[in-house]
């Protein structure tokens, strides 16, 4: 069982909130959900939408088609009518609105809409679209929003403008009613979402009206939730992971989709610590820097004091961090950079997703030094990887880049709380406490790792220039050979110490390998049983650490198999790294660079096309 619901509307009109309320209600009924958010780089007026997929089993992906499309404006209808499978809820009074009357719709998109309607001999109005979808067997539900809102406003004697956003709740209520979800869940969700009493009241009234408008169509049974579950987005779970790992300093410069992580940390900066059984308060400092040059270097400075420190950014900001990361590599500083990848290059599609920066991350900054790069595939992984990142940084005394894509950052999913249980290990590596005097920070050692002390403990010197064991500049060749080698050796040490199986997720079995990293994991996982049903047995190999790369394991896993690389970019960069490290080249590719996530269905269709001989499948689903 898997259902997909979508709501759309102009930015700034509460679409997000309503999607959260919908998801919450569904969750309360005992279902697992996965919700994905799409929005323009705009504050108010452009089209945004949210897709929620749910099932009695955990879900990890969105779908190409939606069962129920919930709308209250015209643009949502035009943008998404080809995606509806089953039901479309819409505002009756918009029937005569044509594509050309919607000013916020982009000309290229409007063209596409008209083409599609024309092809099927329909006109260009909402009414025509309604006919179009009905011709495809979609049930349409017209709603008279304005009378409903008027009724709500009258009930509480408040102006219409105040209740405007209750449209959202009406359409959410209709949807939940269709799915047969108990009204009580919605009521509770509303109560916990809105702080203001009046808001709770009139939204509840709107919900009641919405509920009463339709009959249940799906009749989803109420499930029994055994274990407690949480519902969380990627920004938040990354923040929680970092705090759990002991992060106490984060510097950042605002950028989508990274800054919400920092905002969350700052909002929760007063922390609960349990030190030797005793409870006390700790505080994490969050600094809004003047730019990303400052952000990375502040975090590096912080790390020198022994603080677990990090910064979070996305493409443009990461580009500005290159020089600072190179200094951190040279000075063996454990700093974590959470890299939220979005649509690139340049400003690109700043609010959309992408995997186009992997090789940049792997090679960032001039010169040779160990850059550890890990990439998370879902929300749980983000949590554990955020902790892992700090342990790696401190054990190997080098910058660690933790890659999270926009799609996971802004999407939320629900899962059992116990998935976050377990001991959070804090491995700080070789730390010493000298009693004053001078300290040789860069002592040569077999494994390349020197004992580390913190600023304030002793006289410690650092330099971006090549330096001797004391941290003073030297240009001598013998020292250069050894000190350079010492830094590089840490990568070999890490490669030896970190089991390769920890660096790769392998799911399933078969002669066909779907090779991926990051967010496509979810779509592949959801697609695998369906593919199997259709007789295609595949194995998923998801790379979680790109440096040090698990070359031996990858060779073992991929040799003699048919390898299909699946990535959210054009060049299949993850596969390029594979080739560089192992000499193995994938047989074929399933790629998408629209900034929208890969859907479950796209995986299924894509794999089938490849099995029929296509070498390069380019995906394009999603508005």
């Amino acid at each position: 069982m898997r259902y997909s619901w979508m709501i759309g509307g102009a930015q700034g009109l509460g679409v997000d909130t309503s999607a959260v309320i919908f998801g919450n209600s569904i969750s309360k009924a005992g279902y697992y959900i996965f919700g994905n958010r799409e929005y323009y780089s705009n504050i108010k007026g452009r089209h945004s939408y949210f897709q929620v997929v749910f099932s009695e089993k955990p879900v990890h992906s969105i779908s190409s088609k939606v069962d129920v499309l919930a709308t209250f404006d015209a643009e949502t209808i035009f943008q998404h009518f080809t995606e509806v499978k089953d039901v479309m809820i819409y505002d009756d009074s918009l029937k005569n609105v044509t594509v050309d009357m919607v000013r916020s719709i982009e000309p290229e998109i409007a063209e596409g809409v008209k083409e599609e309607l024309k092809k099927n001999a329909f006109g260009f109005s909402v009414g025509d679209v309604v006919k179009y979808v009905e011709s495809k067997g979609v049930k349409t539900i017209p709603v008279d929003y304005s009378s409903i809102l008027k009724k709500v406003a009258d009930t509480y004697h408040i102006p219409l403008s105040v209740v405007e956003r209750a449209k959202n709740i009406v359409v959410v209520a209709i949807s939940l009613s269709l799915f047969g979800i108990k009204e009580e869940h919605l009521r509770n969700a509303i109560a916990s979402e809105f702080k203001n009493d009046l808001f709770v009241k009139f939204n509840t009234t709107a919900a009641e009206i919405g509920y009463s408008l339709v009959q249940a169509k799906y009749n989803l049974p109420e499930l029994n939730v055994g274990e407690p579950r949480i519902q969380v987005d990627g920004n938040t779970i990354s923040a929680i992971g970092k705090l759990s790992a002991g992060l106490r300093f984060q510097s950042y410069y605002p950028i989508t989709p990274a800054s919400d992580e920092s905002t969350y940390i700052e909002a929760n900066q007063n922390l609960d610590l349990i030190v030797n059984g005793e409870r006390r308060k700790g505080g994490a400092v969050v600094v809004q820097a003047e730019d990303e040059l400052a952000a990375i270097n502040m975090a590096v400075g912080s790390a020198l004091t022994g603080t677990r420190s990090a910064t979070a950014t996305s493409g443009p900001g990461f580009s500005l961090m290159a020089e600072g990361i190179s200094w951190a590599g040279m000075n063996e500083v454990p700093v974590v950079i959470t890299y939220y990848m979005r649509g690139a290059p340049s400003t690109g599609l700043p609010t959309r997703s992408g995997q186009g920066d992997l090789k940049f991350a792997l090679n960032v900054g001039h010169g040779e030094f160990p850059r550890i790069v890990i990439a998370s595939g879902d929300h749980k992984e983000i949590y554990w990887d955020a902790i892992w990142a700090f342990n790696l940084a401190e054990k190997y005394q080098t910058p660690v880049i933790h890659v999270i894509e926009k799609t996971l950052a802004n999407a939320y999913s629900s899962f059992d709380e116990k998935e976050l249980d377990g001991n959070v290990e804090v491995e700080r590596g070789k730390i010493v406490k000298p009693e004053g005097g001078y300290f040789n920070r860069f002592e040569f050692s077999e494994d390349g790792i020197s004992p580390r002390a913190f600023l304030g403990d002793a006289g410690i010197f650092h330099a971006g220039d090549e330096h001797n064991e004391e941290g003073h500049i030297t240009e001598g060749t013998k020292n250069r050979i050894l000190m350079y080698e010492k830094r590089m050796k840490k990568l070999y040490t890490a490669d030896r110490e970190i089991p390769e199986v920890q660096r790769v997720n392998v799911v399933g079995d078969g002669q066909v390998v779907l090779l991926t990293w990051g967010s496509p994991k979810g779509s592949i996982l959801d697609a695998m049983p369906l593919l199997q049903n259709e007789g295609v047995k595949v194995q998923m190999v998801q790379v979680r650490m790109f440096n040090p790369y698990p070359s031996d394991l990858m060779k073992k896993l991929l040799s003699g198999k048919k390898v299909i690389a699946i990535e959210n970019n054009y060049c299949a960069q993850g596969a390029q790294v594979l080739s560089e490290r192992t000499g193995i080249f994938p047989d074929s590719f399933i790629l998408k660079w629209t900034g929208r996530s890969i859907t479950m269905e796209e995986i299924i269709e894509g794999v089938k096309k490849v099995m029929q001989g296509e070498k390069r499948v380019v995906l394009s689903d999603g508005a």
Partner: protein, 303 residues
Amino acid sequence: MTARKPVFVDWCPGCGDYGILRAEEEAIKELGIQHEKVTIVSGIGCSGKIPHFIDLPISGVHTLHGRSLAFATGIKLSNPSLEVIVNVGDGDSLGIGMGHFVNAGRRNIDMTVIIHDNGVYGLTKGQASPTLHRGEKTKSLPKPNINDAVNPLNVALSSGYTFISRGYAYDISYLKELIKAGIKHKGLALIDILQPCPTYNDINTKEWYDKRIYKLETIGWDPLVRSENEREEKMQKAMIKAMEWGEKIPVGIFYEDESVPTYEDRLVQNIPNYIDYYPAKQDIQVNGKSATDIKELIKAKRV
């Protein structure tokens, strides 16, 4: 205590940086701060080498060109018990680092910024720095300087620095006192040091300065803001004074204001125990297990 290998001070003979080194070393000693608690953060340039040359067990963080203030910010805010001094070149701080220079003023962190102001990019062979005046042609320049100069004191005043001063590299004892005052000042202190570069700058030489420099004390200058309502007037006066350049060049403290809360003070508003239990001091693990209890954060996400 490990012995220190000799470090060769490789500035040119006669460089003003020697005076700064001496004054700074003496200031640290005279203030009696525990040496290990001092961190000198520097940028890139002849000036940037200074931490390596200080013959005390202080710490040195020789960073990137233009970025020392950012490193210093991370260091000081994570461990406010450290005494952080930032030594920067004029190109370093006012050219490539100008964005940080201004924005540091907005924070007023309790640190001391020392500019080695020599009018040139020393270590890259004498190009014009942002403090060299337009039309001036040092011996290192093939053509007269095409850019106007910035006034570091006024930029600092417009950006929120709460201690604004100017020193002279060859007047070591006076400079030492300035540095001490800057370190003791609660807030972000600027010491712009006129630092002759005999190798590349043959305009702003020792001779040139010697006949122009006078001390603000000698004209009874009162830099101190004693109350909030004195602030605007004192700041205006300081700005006008800071424009004086030519036949007479004032050195000394132009402006001093301790009534503006430091960034650390402001942080305490959000994190009450910040000063006592700052980031670097916090226990983040016990026997290798996380000491941070995130249960409440998780619980808030329950459905």
